[in-house]
Symmetry: C2
Subunit: 95 residues, 2 copies
DNA sequence: AAATTTGGTTTATAATATAAACTACTTTAT
DNA sequence: ATAAAGTAGTTTATATTATAAACCAAATTT
């Protein structure tokens, strides 16, 4: 009847992050922070959780003197998002 | 960009409860428990939260000698569900 | 009449989300 | 040169939420 919802994606901020990354090749911390309106702390924590699950990759570098954190969705992340949407259907249109 | 997701509905069990009640006129505790696979304790707590938000009404009676708790969605509950689905769209198809 | 089942509620614990405080710089103004 | 303010985060503490375990009262079964 109801498919379980991946708890990692069933979070407003993490879902927003993945939504953005699905459509983009790469996005950096500042961009994600602006788009999601998240606080830095919350964003930092949730990005780590997504990376720990291998849903995204996080790369740290420098743009001149300024640190830059870029994020990229992985194939696992894409698959998880697809499953999440699929599972949601079972709630929106239950049999 | 991203519409906020009503935290009351953004919960696997509460979403399942509302999903069921949307399609039904009324459902009782035992029915909801079977369909959602929730434990009694969890179901009890989440039903109270939905009632506190006036998303559902809870009615207690007896079926013969046995207690019976029935639930019914309210107009506010229906509206909240609609908004939730609408907000979800902003995550599944972000601009 | 003891054990089990039904239909729950309450309470305790674990997990999660969030904000506040902090770190390590860089840039700008004095 | 130094102080103040800004950037880009991380860490830690706290509040909220979800979940399970323990419990209760009555009914039913053995």
């Amino acid at each position: 009847m109801f498919k379980p919802l991946d708890p990692l994606l069933h979070s407003e901020l993490r879902l927003a992050i993945i939504s953005l990354l699905i459509g983009l090749q790469e996005a950096d911390f500042v961009f994600l922070k602006e788009k999601t309106k998240a606080t830095s702390g919350n964003l930092s924590v949730q990005l780590d959780k997504l990376r720990d699950a291998a849903y995204i990759e996080i790369n740290k570098s420098f743009k001149g003197k300024i640190p830059r954190t870029t994020c990229k969705i992985t194939p696992q992340g894409i698959a998880a998002f697809q499953s999440y949407i699929d599972a949601l259907q079972s709630y929106l249109n239950p049999q």
